[in-house]
Amino acid sequence: MSVAIGKREQRIVAIVWVIGIIVVWELASFLLKYVIQDPMASAKLPYPHIVAMTFVENWKILLEAGLVTFSRAAIGFALGSSVGILLAVLMSLSKTMERIAFPYLIVSQMIPVLGLAPIIFNIVRDMNVSRIMIAAYITFFPVAVNMLSGLKSVEQEKKDLLFSIASSKFKVYQKLMLPFSMSYLFTGLKIAAPMAVTASILVDMLGSKSGIGVKILYSLYSNSSNIFWASVLTSAFMGIISFYVVVFAERLCLPWQKATPRKEGVRA
């Protein structure tokens, strides 16, 4: 049965979930350490409160490292989104362009780009540039595909109305196609943002000198498991924050969207 759930109640339920997860984690750590008596327990699953304390103690280093990674992800994200939007508009303008590009768009997704990181690094020889490139490559696909699906979803009658007053193609895109596709675009951006962060972290781990990925690797190899877990947590927050930044931007940009949450987007 569909239960109408209030916004307030939703929030309470979500908070209870988060608290529940932390409690279960505490319990699991306890069990691992004292009941199963795993000698590696504090590395395998440290207590969340200890991770939190480590996080607080080292917040400055973690924040700094996180910002380095995040800013590269953001540049790549911006670049990839622009390319994706451009490509979608071109494909919607020309059937031939769509025929040529669309199969490669899909194939491009099957190339394990994150796996390509070492090769790209080898080619450009600059950690920051390859970080940006990979984040951009990862971003452009969901953006292009969702934007295109938005451009193609414009109802015929909406176009007819502009056709009926002899609008130019440019005006049709400016006044109708682009604004209409905004909500689809944001669906793509929401998918792409955490992926850009993931890409940036991975490039960190493959031989960068700074960034949160480096923190993860160093602490792992130097057996400082608390820092390791705090870094992993930081990277998790970064992914989640990137998602909510886009959600927030959408709220700001598309106030008419409030009432009609759109269905989930196209990813592959």
Binding site: D160, L161, W256
Partner: protein
């Protein structure tokens, strides 16, 4: 008699369908419409009313026959931005408020801002939405949305008004009120109106002539002159003459 304002000659329309069973939406439609006339296209759904209206508006091309408007092609009329159209659905732009929805075609046509604002205020009042100008479409009821669509067409002050079942989503009370309002607008501006509907009393109330279409294949089965006096008010619906017209048209369907 003058040359007809709109001349529809031997128009046929066939929609190609993948399975080979092409749909014949219209066969051999002939119709002359005079300047300033209020014409209704009446018929059950699927008989080709929308198709015919879209052909006149240059949104579809007929597979045979031709349409001439003031001796020009529908395309010329469209390029001169001479008509306003109201669709069966409201066709509003979700990201624009009511005012900016009405504004959209005027923006594209390059009407100056001051003039636009004045026209918006006027048509909003006309359709009774003066308090809703800054709302988004999702904040309006279906009937209100439809009225925005009508206001948008009226704001252009076009020489021709094409309306595709504009009131079919409205309740009976609102519909009758808007019928009356539409007539008063029309009597002031004397536009040529083509009005699509499947509601017999509505067509009788509004029109100079009711063009009755029948389906499979779509064609004109009768044209009924409505000689009720103008200006008409809703009270006319209670007169025996009105009732006679309604009955006559209803009978013409039973014969099919």
């Amino acid at each position: 008699m003058n040359a007809p304002e709109i001349q529809i000659k031997n128009v046929s329309m066939v929609y190609p369908v993948n399975n080979g069973q092409d749909i014949v939406a219209l066969t051999d439609v002939n119709l002359d419409i005079q300047e300033g006339e209020f014409i209704s296209l009446l018929g059950p759904s699927g008989c080709g009313k929308t198709t015919l209206l879209r052909i006149i508006a240059d949104l579809n091309q007929p597979t045979a026959g031709s349409v001439a408007i003031r001796g020009q092609s529908p395309r010329d009329i469209r390029m001169q931005r001479k008509y306003g159209i109201v669709f069966q659905n409201p066709v509003l732009y979700d990201w624009r408020t009511v005012r900016r929805n009405i504004c959209m075609p005027m923006e594209i046509m390059g009407i100056p801002k001051k003039e636009r604002t004045a026209r918006i205020n006027r048509v909003l009042e006309l359709v009774g939405l003066q308090d809703f100008g800054d709302k988004y479409p999702f904040e309006l009821s279906g009937g209100m949305q439809q009225r925005v669509g009508i206001a948008r067409a009226l704001a252009l002050d076009p020489e021709f008004l094409f309306m595709d079942e504009p009131f079919s989503a409205l309740d009976e009370f609102t519909r009758e009120k808007l019928n009356e309002d539409l007539l008063s607008i029309w009597s002031k501006a004397k536009k040529t109106v083509i009005f699509v509907t499947h509601n017999i009393p509505e067509s009788v109330f509004l029109s100079d002539r009711v063009v009755v279409l029948s389906p499979h294949p779509g064609r004109i089965s009768a044209i009924v002159d409505i000689n009720l006096p103008r200006p008409r008010e809703n009270s006319i619906r209670e007169t025996p003459e009105f009732y006679e017209y309604v009955t006559k048209i209803r009978r013409s369907f039973e014969g099919v």
